[in-house]
Symmetry: C2
């Protein structure tokens, strides 16, 4: 019934987030044979729908009926397919992958657990832990600071190939909320451009890094500048982005003092470029690891542990 034999296809690697679902069919060296992307994220699904949605995606990729699937992300959340409890930090990167938990369905399926931190502040992640494990395999896993920018940016401390602590920032979500719903919507109009080359981006980023307490009043200043003079929508969006990313970096520097200035940036495309500029402006340097490559590599590793024991 399928066009590919299971000797070719080793595993389906699945990144199941809040708003999207990515599936890659990988061979036994981790190479991508085929892939698909849909908007069938957790936010759109009730618990009982996950199994059928996965089967539909796999059928579209002509995956064998008995092909194992290794999943990370919100599928393991309380409101997801099946809750997989968080692992507490500190935790070794490879222990995260080994802790992938089987779920009872027709084919072999595992979900990688998320991570939680109870002190010094409560925090959680689901999905990023797999990117982190994939990234750790790509550098020496030594003492380092990782940045995973996005809707909920994560900053992560790794020591001796283990995650020792992390913090989440609502940077991307705040940017969208302020652009779409706040008084600043009049300033940014339809612009959502966050161009790191715009001098306004760098200027506002520097200002908030120098003085994090100024963030709250600096937001309204964007609106006031447009009322008192000429402040084009692209500049207003760049200003907002600079302030929010600057506040994120300021918060990180304070919380991960001693982590140095070299950051491993797990990101792709325009967001990777933007954060590279921001980190440079903050006197830090970034080594970029592609987020998709990292998550796929880790899902492949996790599958090897489960299917071959290595």
């Amino acid at each position: 019934m399928t066009s590919q034999s299971s000797s070719e296809t080793f595993v389906a690697a699945v990144d199941w987030g809040t708003t999207s679902l990515r599936v890659w069919l990988l061979d036994d060296t981790g190479e991508v044979l085929s892939e698909t992307r849909s908007d069938q994220g957790m936010a759109k699904l009730s618990r009982g729908e996950f199994g059928a949605v996965l089967e539909r995606e796999l059928a579209a990729l002509k995956a064998p009926d008995d092909l194992p699937a290794m999943i990370c992300g919100m599928a393991g959340a309380r409101q997801g397919w099946q809750e997989v409890p968080y692992l507490d930090v500190p935790v070794a990167a490879d222990a995260i992958l080994q802790a992938a938990t089987p779920i009872e369905v027709g084919r072999p399926v595992w979900i990688v657990p998320g991570l939680c931190q109870r002190a010094p502040a409560a925090d959680v992640m689901r999905g990023e832990e797999t990117q982190i494990a994939g990234a750790v395999a790509r550098f020496d896993g030594g003492d380092s600071l990782l940045c995973l920018p996005g809707t909920h940016s994560k900053w992560v401390r790794v020591k001796d190939a283990a995650v020792t602590g992390f913090r989440t920032f609502l940077t991307g979500e705040m940017f969208s909320l302020l652009c779409d719903h706040s008084i600043l919507r009049h300033s940014v109009g339809s612009s959502r451009r966050t161009d790191g080359q715009n001098p306004v981006f760098r200027e506002r980023l520097r200002a908030v890094l120098e003085n994090p307490a100024a963030l709250p009043s600096s937001l309204f200043a964007i609106r006031a500048e447009g009322l008192l003079g000429d402040f084009p929508p692209d500049d207003a969006a760049a200003a907002l982005s600079g302030l929010l990313i600057g506040a994120e970096i300021a918060g990180t520097r304070e919380q991960f003092a001693g982590a140095g200035t070299e950051v491993i940036l797990i990101a792709s495309g325009a967001l990777a470029d933007l954060y590279a500029v921001a980190l440079e402006e903050a006197g830090m340097s970034a080594t970029v690891i592609d987020a998709e490559i990292a998550v796929r590599a880790a899902l492949f590793e996790a599958a090897r542990f489960k299917l071959r024991g290595n």
Copy 2:
């Protein structure tokens, strides 16, 4: 046609904001004869509708046809009834009222101008300047720091009965946006309680005052606390409120360093109580002036200037 003679009613005092319209009929000593409140704020009206809406409200109060009206607020904005240019700070409080600008309609109507600041940061206000003028008349008008909490909180420096500078914070708007639209909506549920007596409110306020850079990551921690343990909606709302008001006070302390710790709080009801607690927690003290009384007193003053020349 009207039940009240114009010898009794001296002026209609009108506070026309973004989301609401208040009208008070005042006698020649400033006492309230009758009043009305509606949701016909600027956000609901196009330019051509203001005149008819005012006439309808005045008719409902049985105001004389020739009764003058003194207006403050968004009616003077670019998108309002008629744009009245901002006055630049520094500006004397009584000069603001004297600058009320006539508009061409059937009855005598004036709009009080808003204020703008060009340096050290751009800022604007419309409506609060009238409350400030009313408050300044109630204290000696000397060196002081005023707080007008709300959707867009204002902090204002007054010296020698003149406004010398101010800053706006999106505190109330941010609270609503995060409660209604962000990941934190799962944490606060339907709670919007911002009870200053809740220990969580004070604890988060102190934390952000001690370390303003921690604000961005402290927001997500509210969500994480609920996932990792028991964090009731009322506590989550109190935590969010404490963080945002704490960030506002931290920003103010930095920007108005040297203004001392005595704050004139222009507010009413629950918001006045909440900010009094917050200021106390921040080592400041508050003298409350009721916002409604202040705005009414200043509109009456402005009308006296125009109608009697004193």
